[in-house]
């Protein structure tokens, strides 16, 4: 076969992880003609390598491992007859008009030009790497991101190293600390820049289980080792995250695992002018996860980094519902858009715009930990008490349609101590 295949759909979903699969399944259930694309060899995104439990408690009302969560969504997609391509690399999105968009992708089955009414962009996120967090020094073998180490171990069955230092105490780093320890490696330390751990409480427990030291307010600044990592230099930081001279020490190791956060993958969206929120790193979205380009929706870690796959899948479904409404009405119906604004101790939040046409879940993160707080939306007189808020734990709060409708132009969310 040669040349360009031209095909037509109601909605093209870009990304076959939990957000994309949930979106594709929902879109199909809503009667839309849907195409799902993923650049990996298999569907599921990162779920097939996340072999630990803790997934699906909200979405499937049952605790599953990552591969099981992916399997359920994949099975449903296949039962419904969702068209999909794996090993499909999307090269370009074009936005000709509100209901005419083009997705160009290449795959082992050829090159395709898809004409579609809507797009759901669910390309996920990438990991921050060593150079982005100021680690300098030798570039020997043995430096991995947590996800790379996870792929090696839990997809290919290859042990990346034996003497491990983990940089960053986010969930993936802690989960990899456990995987390494279970497989008999020596996890020598988890180094965290901030004065508090980055992961969920249940994952911090892991360190205790395996007696792994956690160094808070510390950073790795240098790697030594010509052919293979031999040791790393660690230094203490003050409350302004400045290095404290004289506190340096070395840890011997053969492997450095970087778990320093995720960055939404938004390249194809920014190429066509979608507006990005600097706080989330993802696109600006309304309450149906439509970006600033009409008919182009986004969901999952492309929009903001989530703690739970359940919320990612929920966002995918919402975007699919958005695509359906968009096609039926030639746009998302609203009287006017109400802006959701960040107030005190709110670092990020989505959606950015509310229509007042439906109940909405607000996803937000605080800037710093706080106990005994009230979350307030002053313009609509809504308040909610919470015993504790932490930057590592995303807040998900429901605002009712009737309450949203009370606002004129904007609603502020603030988290204040009682």
């Amino acid at each position: 076969m040669s040349g360009l295949h031209i095909i037509q759909y109601d909605v093209v979903v870009i990304g076959g992880g939990p957000a994309g699969m949930a979106a594709a399944v929902k879109a199909k259930e809503l009667g839309l003609n849907v195409l799902l694309l993923d650049d990996n060899e298999y569907l599921g995104g990162i779920l097939p390598q996340c072999i630990h439990p803790g997934f699906g408690i909200h979405y499937f009302k049952e605790e599953l491992t990552g591969p099981e969560f992916a399997y359920r969504l994949t099975k449903r997609a296949l039962e419904l007859g969702v068209d999909y391509y794996t090993a499909a690399r999307v090269l370009e999105i074009k936005n000709y008009s509100d209901i005419e968009k083009v997705v160009i992708f290449s795959s082992p089955k050829g090159a395709f030009e898809v004409w579609t009414k809507t797009i759901i962009y669910a390309a996920g996120a990438r990991e921050r790497h060593a150079f982005e967090i100021g680690i300098v020094g030798d570039r020997g073998a043995g430096i991995y991101t947590a996800g790379e180490a996870q792929t090696l171990m839990d997809i290919y069955g290859i042990m990346p190293g034996r003497e491990i230092v983990i940089v960053g105490s986010g969930d993936v780093g802690l989960i990899m600390a456990r995987r390494f320890a279970l497989e008999g490696a020596n996890v020598k330390a988890v180094i965290e820049l901030m004065p508090y751990p980055g992961g969920l409480a249940r994952n911090i427990m892991i360190l205790k289980d395996f007696d792994i030291p956690l160094y808070l307010s510390h950073k790795v600044v240098e790697v030594k080792g010509k052919n293979r990592v031999e040791r790393v230099k660690v230094i203490k930081v003050d409350e302004n995250l400045n290095e404290i001279p004289g506190t340096e020490f070395w840890i011997e190791c053969d492997t450095v695992v970087i778990s320093a956060g995720l960055i939404p993958s938004v390249k194809l969206l920014t190429n066509i002018g979608a507006e990005i929120d600097p706080a989330t790193g993802g696109p600006i979205v309304n309450d149906l996860f439509e970006t600033t380009i009409p008919g182009i929706f986004a969901a999952g870690n492309t929009v903001l980094i989530n703690d739970l796959v359940d919320y990612v899948a929920e966002q995918g479904e919402l975007a699919a519902y958005g695509a359906k409404l968009f096609i039926e009405n030639g746009g998302i119906p609203t009287k006017h858009w109400i802006k959701l604004r960040k107030g005190e101790n709110v670092r990020l939040l989505i959606p950015h715009y509310l229509s007042g046409e439906r109940d909405v879940f607000i996803y937000a993160r605080v800037k710093r930990p706080m106990e005994n707080v009230e979350v307030r939306f002053p313009e609509i007189g809504k308040r909610l008490r919470l015993p504790i808020v932490k930057p590592a734990e995303m807040l998900r709060l429901k605002l009712r349609k009737e309450d949203i409708a009370k606002a004129k132009d904007e609603i502020t969310m603030e988290v204040v101590p009682l």
């Binding site: 439990p53 491992t65 591969p67 099981e68 399997y71 997809i155 279970l182 008999g184 969920l200 015993p387």
Partner: protein
């Protein structure tokens, strides 16, 4: 009798209470810091008989992927885990394997596949 104090962050819910269990020899003397009965129960279980669901991967011949991910069908006593991991590391199984399939048993504990291969 020796007295020991165990400290945990409770993981029953996102509150993350700091739990303290004071032991007098092998008996529980006092549990502090919990804000619900579930937390208290969990703290006691954590001291007396800590268990974990264990997950790992097993090598596969003739599968779509080189490994299959597995979990124990029930939580395993913590002390048993290193032995179980060594047992799993030596295994190699034949593909294809279905999700939910019991691959084998280790001392009566079912090892279940969580990924298709």
């Amino acid at each position: 009798m020796t007295s020991r104090v165990y400290l945990f962050t409770c993981i029953v819910c996102p509150l993350g209470c700091t739990l303290e269990v004071e032991m007098d020899g092998d008996k529980i003397k006092e549990v502090k810091g919990y804000t619900c009965p579930k937390g208290r129960e969990w703290a006691i279980e954590e001291v007396m008989n800590p268990k974990r669901v264990v997950m790992s991967v097993i090598k596969v011949r003739n599968g779509k992927l080189p490994t299959v991910s597995v979990k124990t069908a029930e939580p395993v006593p913590k002390a048993k885990i290193p032995e179980l991991m060594k047992f799993l590391a030596k295994l190699e199984v034949e593909g294809p394997i279905r999700v939910g399939q019991t691959i084998l048993e280790f001392e009566g504990i079912k090892i279940v596949a969580t990924r298709e291969t």
